[in-house]
Every structure is written in structure tokens, then in C-alpha cells.
Symmetry: D2
Subunit: 326 residues, 4 copies
């Protein structure tokens, strides 16, 4: 496995991951989960979609839940610094023959939709409609006190290639990674905004989304969410945790929404703004990489993910499998 | 100052302090404070009264808010073990010529109302109507997650006499106390239920109630309440704290309800069930007794209290005054 | 299953569970675990034994670790109110032909050693040597901030009989219990000190000790202990948790000491001093009884326990087995 | 008051504030405070200096404590992205006739020392000697679990000019600010690393350092530090807090080291990486700007600061004074 040098020379500036657009089957069922249970703020609701955000967010939404026949991921969204970055990104991708197109998105000025060579659907924008944040409206704090959108994690059958794409073509920087015995890239955590990741990838059938993640202030917010879910009809939606990841040092919980989209509730990582930060490598056979405290993840956590809309899923080539429960 | 021996020989068994009955001017205003802001559970509401309880409580109420012309304390309530304890208590008080009478209280089987020689109005009962507790209904957790009623604290112009009454005639046990330079009792913390106190008294104009207290799980619940109060129109109702008392080791916050009744939000004391527990004495001049961290309490905290209904207040005789903030 | 009435008429008063005496193989290895990792206070060390206590405890010890050839439980200890309670207890047991004898214990005035009909070795005392507590010496707070000894939990092949013994002959009061489909008692939680339990019993091969438990202030103390254990050579000693029990509402963690003695780290239960508290019954098939959040306990947690010294273990008769992880 | 546009066009990239160099009178006394009480990690100690860092930091130090006759600030340090940024910064400052010089600093490759027109001594470097971080060595966590250096706050007699310097010449971005009735800039919070601030300035006699700040994970770490300081000889060193700032939403505590250098213990701010983040303005007369919960700061907090070495202090011109405690 080759750890690439950061690419500081791209002509555009991706600020951070920003939002996800999920296809769901029933908005009312979704609202009960995201708003009443997790505590997200409902910014707007139309017949076809629910737009939600976290407490500190001034952007119109970080979750779009859109009615579709089957659950799917419609897009994962990223913010760039300025409108000119969108143009520079488009030009860069055109030069590389990577598919991109301008699309109309509600609440965004201009949106560049990119389909990566691996099949991931990314959307980039510079300006989204602004709304008031709720950071200092403490009576709005409900559920787990969701403070901000944190990151994505995807399954890909070609971890090395996907990693190289995000680093070389989009300027993401590696913070931590896992390699197989043979030295192959098995998982990679990459950031733009200065924490452990905006985007992570893991070996597996893909392209699929493994999870989106929301940052909360403390572990006690996560424990309260567990108590609430366990006693309000969502105990089956608790998939894994709480626990501490060795990777990223995060205190985590994984839950599944009513359509099977996985959400990580996440806190406790660290600052990564230094350009000379050394990426931290983990051995696939080290169980503390997954769970510092030793408890294995359930099988579903390694296998279940959500497909991108109209995107065929390819089987993972690597045999490498971590130690799992069961 | 003489620390009395515990009196283990009384023919009745007071289990714990149980509830307070406050006179308030406007139930809707009170409800906004107690239910919407602090997070107490509304058990029942009539035209004249609001009955509230905390999350783990199976008793009908720990707060009765009753409409009166002026704010006052109508009674402070205690639970005894059995109905026969009420009779034994009545007989004991009759022998001592201490005023008591049977009164009818909504939701209690029999109630013995006692006026102590110092003028405090106490009500004793053995059985109150039961309701479901909310301990495992986590979606009911709001505000500061109020878990249970904890204690009373009163002003009295005769601390030594009041202390002796509670120990000798009612069987309370001293856990901590403050004495003046001359060795006079200035404040006393006394319990029945096995924590630092069910009832505390402090030198001051009285009889008056200084505060009633609610136990919450952690300091973070108190910090969240501060944030909520500060941004929902109740910033002026925050009187003192957060801080750590030297006495009792409690992490505390004092707030005033819309009628000026003081509520302590309280956590972190210790187990006191041992009959051979040595009471811990504090010097009135030791500022860490009040606030372990050194910050003085505001003047109002030493002076403001609520009178018992139809009960004249006598001036405190002792000159002793702790160091206070200007 | 028959829920017995509380027995309020016994002529003695057991205050609370107090300490455990473990046989361990190497004091230095034990010290590294209990003192350096969990954060217990070392009161005294002799050639044969280590005496430890928690932060708020004024008693000489709540853990005695004594060198033995093989790990075992030497005794579980309870405090009674006064010396006269020991005599009354002795007389009561003699009348019932239950084996008891006076033994000499370091740091206790008089000790009555009782072997219950089920084979449990209990020791009762009224007065133990006192030492300074560390509650307000915050620089002594290490590891998980162990605040006080909380309870025992034992395996017994005859749950109904053991339950009846503790209630009828010793005056324990039931707070929660689990029954099988056939209505047999499968597990019982019983208290003396006013929280959920001083002693619990579970169906299983016995008499054996399942665990002793230490109370800590918040869930964050438990999370910190997990992090410390996971990165200081004790990751294999983490057996189960963190999680929330439905029973008792406790936030818990189970760890094994270097000799396999199981310690529960415990917080978040509730006050049970009311004589009319209704015991809460659970169905053995309800998985939330075990873990509110749904995750099953590992097999070892249902099977592993520590024998009492020189005490044969009998096989459990009941078939009932909860759902467990593979 | 004029809120300036961010300056995105400077030819160098300052990554973040990095460290402070304090003159102290006795290293052993300082070590007892910073290492034994706050819990900082001692990286290295020489006869003249103590080099300390926080738990997640891979850099050699974030605090240099150097023996001087009188307490003073020797420099505040910032990290730039690459060595070439140092050269570009030097060239930029030379063009503006702002004083800068290359100096030798232990543990840094090259260091550019800049004296701003207002008299602040800043040091810039690209590469500092690296050491292992302690993020996953949880047994090293002591005191308040100091995780990383967060920011500086300075007094300046010319707030508007100082603000303009940092924005226009160094590329800092405003996140929050306070203005007087007349619309003058009274205080400004500015960042580089994507949180609320790397550097804040307040009207007052200056140039002086008001405080340096350390980020900790949760409010409970701050409460524990208060308890430790209050019971280990440092109660007088607690100056203000705990509390919540309206500005930045931080949960804070201010303590004074043995030489009077003020340290803020800080947690709970928010992400500010978006270039279109609107700065949040506060009115100087709004007390919740200072303390959301309403309690005023002590007088010393508005007046006491530490001078930069050999740098004369000028009196503040503005009359504007916030409401303070007596």
C-alpha cells in the first residue's frame, strides 16, 4: 500500500462534506425517527421531501429525505468555497474525462453533480439558502442534541483506486487507514475540514453508502439516545455500540433509520489541520482498530449498506475479512 | 454546641421527606416554569392546583402548586412507614403538647398536620395515591431530567432549638453542621432516608422555607437547564451557581420560580445509612463550606425565603454572618 | 412464583452490604488492577492481604484481597446497626438451626460468620475500624472514581429458596425480579440500604458469587475506565458492556479481575426506601430486562462465577435460559 | 463599525495558533500547577525551561515556561503550512514595513518573529519537532484531560486597528464581535483553523495577553478540575466560572497560574470553516454576551493581563465598560 502525498495544488477548494439525500418510503415514518427521536430540526417539508438540519447549522439542510419507491442514496453533498471553485472543479473533471453535469437543486445556487469512476454520486455547491441556527436556542435541543453533520463512509470494491481518486482528483487528505497483510488498502479516512474525516471508504461490495454521521457534544447524548430508542419502538434500529473506535478515537453508536439507512452518532475525534500530520496506519487484524474495548461488530455492520440510485453494485475483490461476532 | 446522640428509640418511623405545597399566583405561569422548563411531570391539574412529580416517583405528586393570593408555603410533607406510625407520632406529640391535627388531603389516605414549636408546618402521611413512574420512559425526560424530590432547607431564628426538635422528637440524624466562633449551632443537615439530608436548617429570620431540592443524575443536566433558562425568558430566575458545596459535596444550582420559591437542583452527595457515621462539622468562617470553589453566594441567597402560611416570622438573634458577595 | 411480603418484624437490623473478601494469587498483580486501574484507595497492605476502599468510604475496607492458592470467595460482608443486633441475629439463627459462629476479623470488633442453608458464607459486623474518607480529596480520584461499594450478585441452584431465606430470615426487601414461563423465580434483587439491591440472586450452578459491584458517579467514569483498560493491558478483562440494564435501570460495565472475579461498575439506579414500593416483575423472555438496548450478554456472563471457599457447587435445576449471544 | 471582508488573497497560509511562551519565576512551582494539577504532559525540561503539551498534540510543546525575573509573555506562536509560507509572510511584512526577524527557537526549524504595529510579539514556524501524541494512552489522562491548545485573547487599546491588522495582513476571519453604542469595535474573535477563534482581542490597556486557552472534551472535565484545584492549594487561582459565554457558546473556566498568567479551560464551540459564515455581532450592553447565565465577571477579569516582554503598555482610549460585579 502506498500512502499518497497530499495534493495541495488543485485549482479548487472543497470546504467540507455537507449533506446527504436519501430516498425513503414514508416521510411521516422518517420524521418520527429523525425529528422526534434523533432530534433533528425540521427546516421545511414539501409533499415529496423533508429537509432537516442539525442545531449549529445555518445551511437549509444536511438531510434531504425524498420519497422514492425503494430506499436508496440519491447523492452525497459537498460544499466548495466559492462559485468559481465549481467552475474550476468542472474544468478539472472535464480534463480528466470524469462525468459531471450542472443540476438544479432546491435551496442551492448552482450544483455540479459528479459521478466518480467508481460510481459514487457526489454533488458540489458553493452557496445554499441560509436559515437561523439553533445553537443558542437550547429549548430546541431534543433527542441526542445533533450538533452538525460530520462525514460519510462508503463501501467500495476497489479501495486503492477510490482512495487515489479522492486524494489526487479532489484534494482530500488521509488521516488514518487500514491495510491487509499483503499491504493492500482496506479502509481509508480522509478529510477536508480539519477533523478525522469528511469521507471514509472501506473494502466491500460497492459503490454503496455505509453510513452518514452526525456529531454530538458528549457520550452522554448518545447514551440518552439509546435509552430513548430502546423505549419508544426503535430498539431494533440500534445496530452497534456504544463503543470507542481505535480509528479516529470516536465514541460511536450506529443506528438504522426506518429504511435501513445507517446513521453514525459520533463524538471525540481530533484536529487534523496540520499539513504535516502523519496518517496513522492500522493492521486489519488488530481488533482494537474497530473497537478499542474489544467487542466485535455484528455481521450486518460489515455487509449492509445502501446503494446509490440506478447504480449497479460490484462485488468486492479482496478476501480480507476482519474478525467479526457470530 | 452540643452534637446530640441520634434518637433510635422513637415509636414511629419517618421514611423521608416527600413533597412540598406551595401557594402560587398563576398556575399557567407556574406550569411554564416547572413542567416546560424544569421538566417535571404533570400528574393532574384542577382549577385550584397543579400536581407534579419527578421521573422516578410513583407517588401522585412531590409538588403541589395551589392558587393563593400571595406566595407562601402551605406545608412540607413527610412519609412515614405505616398508618400505625401516624398514630404513634400523634400520641408522641400529644404527650409533648405539640400541636397536631388530622387533615384531609387529596391523594393521601390520612394526614397528620403538625405545627412545630418553632412554627414550621409539617404534614405526615403513610400512603399516597400511586401512579406509574417514568424512569424507563425516556421520551418523557425533559429539561433537567428531574429524578426525585430530595430535601428541604429552612430558616429558623433558633437553630439549636430547631435542631434539637428534629433530632429528639422526630428522630432525624445529623450528617453535617456549621457552628459559630462561640460554638453555637448555625446550620444543620439531618436525614431519615440515608443521604445527606431530608431537612436542613440555617440561622435566619424564620420560620421560613429557604428552598426545596430536586435530585438530578449529573452536573450536565444542571448545565443544560442553565442554558435553557438563559434562553427562554428565565435568566433572571437563576440565583446562584452552578457550584460545589463543601457541605454535602453537592453540585448545585439555585433557581427561583415565578413566585420567588427557591428550588435547588442537586446531585453528588453520599450514603449516610450507617448509625455510626460521624457528623462533619464546619466553621462558619470557612468559605469552602458554602462554595468549595471559593465564589461567594449573592446576598439574596442569605436573606430571601418564603413564609409559611399565616405564620409570623421572628428575627434571627445571632449576629453571625458569613462572608458574602457585595 | 410467590412474591413474599417484606418481613419488618425481625429483632435485628442489617444496614447494608459492606465488603467482599476475595482469594487472589498475587497481590501485586491485583494491586495493579484494583488500585492503579480501577482507582481504589489502598488502606493497608500486609504480607497476606491488601485492604482497599472506595472514595466516600470511612470504613477500613470494602475489598479484602487475600493470598490463596486458588481464586475463591472467602466471605461477603454485611454491616448491622449495633453490637446488640449481632447477638439478636445469632439468637435468631440458632433458633432456626442455621449455622453461625463468632470469628476474628482484622479491623472489625466482633464478626458473626453465617453459612446459609444454600452454602453462602456471610459475615456480619457492627463496627469496623474507621479511616478518613477521600470524598473531598479530589486529587485522590483516579481510574473510574470508585465512590462506594454497592452490592453482591450470586448464582444459586435454588432461586426460590434462596430468595425466601434472605427475605424471611434476614429481612431483605424485594425490588425487582424475573420469573420463568412457569412462574418460577429466576432472579431476585433485594435491598436493605434503600437502593435497588444489596444482594441479588440468579438461577445457576451455585452457591457461587456472580459479581460484586462498585458505584461510580456517572457513565463517563465508566467510559474512561474502558479506555484506560483497553490501552493498559486489560482489554481481555472487559467482559460485557457498557450498557443499560432494564432491571434496576443501571448503566453498567462488567470486568474480570486478574483472578477472574467479576466486578460490576454501576450507576443510575433509584431510591427504594418506601415500604410500599411495588416490586417490579420481568419476564425471563424479555431481552430488555438484561439489556435495555437489545445487545445480548456473552455466554461467559451466564456461566462464569467464583466459588465460595471449601463449598461444593450444585448444578442448577431449572432449564430456563435467556437468549444469549453465540 | 465596519465588518471587513475576509482576505482570501494573501500569499501565505497560517494554519492555526500553536503555543505560548510564558516567563515564569519558578519552574517547580509551575510544574505543580500545569502538570500535576491541570494534567499537561511534560515533553522536556531543561534548567531554564519546561516544555509542555496537551494529550492529542504531536508537536513538541504548546506551552514553554521559561525562567524570567518577572512574569511576562515572551511570544505567542502560530503554525504556517510550509516553509515557503514563512518566506512569503516575511516578504509581505517587509513590503508593509512591519518589523520581523528570523530567530532561533529550540524545536522549530525556522522561526519568524513579528512585532505587530500594536506591539504584539508573534512567532511563526512551519515545522516543529514531533513527539508521540497521548490521545490513545488513556492512563496519561490526568487533571482536566487537556486535549489541545485552542486560542489566545489579548487586550489592545486600539481594537479596530488590531482587528484590521489581523484580518487584512494575516488573513484571520471574524466569527463574532462586540460593538459599543457608538458602533466602535470593542472585541473581536477571529480564526484560521475552523473553530470560533485562534485569536481574540478586547478593548483594554495593551498590548497585553488576556489569556491562552486549552480545549477539553466536556464540562465534566472542567468541574473535576475545579474540585481538584479547590482541595489542593489552588482555590485562590480560580478566577471566574464555570459558565457559558454567549460569545462562542463556550463552556468556560478561567484560572490563574502561579505567576498570574490566565488560562481559559474551554469547550463547546462550533465549526466555522464556511467562507460565507456570517459574523455574529453582540451589543456591549448585552450581559449574556459575557455570561449567558447572567452572572457578572469579577473586576480582575476585565483589568488583569500579562505584558509582553520589554513592551510598554498604552492606556485604552475607549470609555466603554461593560457591567461588572462589584
Amino acid at each position: 500500500m502506498k500512502v499518497l502525498k497530499h495534493n495541495f495544488n488543485l485549482p479548487f477548494n472543497i470546504i467540507r462534506c455537507s449533506h446527504v439525500e436519501y430516498g425513503v418510503r414514508d416521510l411521516e415514518v422518517s420524521r418520527k425517527f429523525y425529528v422526534e427521536t434523533l432530534g433533528l430540526i425540521e427546516t421545511e417539508r414539501t409533499d415529496e421531501a423533508l429537509y432537516l438540519r442539525c442545531l449549529e447549522e445555518q445551511q437549509h439542510h444536511s438531510y434531504i429525505l425524498k420519497v422514492t419507491e425503494e430506499p436508496c442514496v440519491l447523492a452525497v453533498g459537498f460544499k466548495v468555497a466559492f462559485e468559481k471553485d465549481l467552475d474550476a472543479l468542472k474544468e478539472h473533471l472535464d480534463q480528466k474525462n470524469i462525468r459531471s453535469e450542472w443540476v438544479d437543486k432546491y435551496a442551492e445556487d448552482r450544483t455540479l453533480k459528479v459521478t466518480t469512476p467508481q460510481g459514487f454520486i457526489l454533488e458540489f455547491y458553493a452557496r445554499m439558502k441560509k436559515v437561523a441556527h439553533k445553537l443558542r436556542e437550547y429549548q430546541s435541543y431534543q433527542g441526542m442534541h445533533p450538533q452538525r453533520f460530520d462525514h460519510f463512509n462508503v463501501f467500495t470494491p476497489n479501495a486503492q483506486e477510490t482512495y487515489e481518486f479522492f486524494v489526487n482528483e479532489l484534494g482530500f487528505r488521509l488521516t488514518e487507514y487500514t491495510t491487509t497483510e499483503k499491504g493492500e488498502m482496506w479502509a481509508a479516512w480522509m478529510h477536508r475540514k480539519g477533523n478525522v474525516h469528511d469521507m471514509a471508504l472501506t473494502n466491500g461490495d460497492g459503490p454503496r453508502l455505509h453510513h452518514s454521521a452526525i456529531w454530538v457534544p458528549t457520550a452522554l447524548n448518545i447514551i440518552h439516545l439509546l435509552d430513548v430508542m430502546a423505549t419508544s419502538g426503535f430498539v431494533e434500529n440500534i445496530e452497534r455500540g456504544p463503543g470507542r473506535h481505535g480509528v479516529s478515537n470516536a465514541f460511536f453508536l450506529y443506528v438504522l433509520d426506518p429504511d435501513g439507512h445507517r446513521i453514525e452518532i459520533y463524538t471525540c475525534d481530533y484536529l487534523t489541520v496540520d499539513p504535516d500530520l502523519e496518517p496513522l496506519g492500522w493492521d486489519l487484524k488488530d481488533p482494537q482498530r474497530q473497537t478499542l474495548w474489544g467487542a466485535p461488530a455484528p455481521k450486518s455492520w460489515f455487509e449492509h449498506g445502501t446503494s446509490f440510485v440506478n447504480t449497479p453494485v460490484k462485488e468486492a475483490k479482496m478476501e480480507a475479512r476482519p474478525i467479526i461476532a457470530n
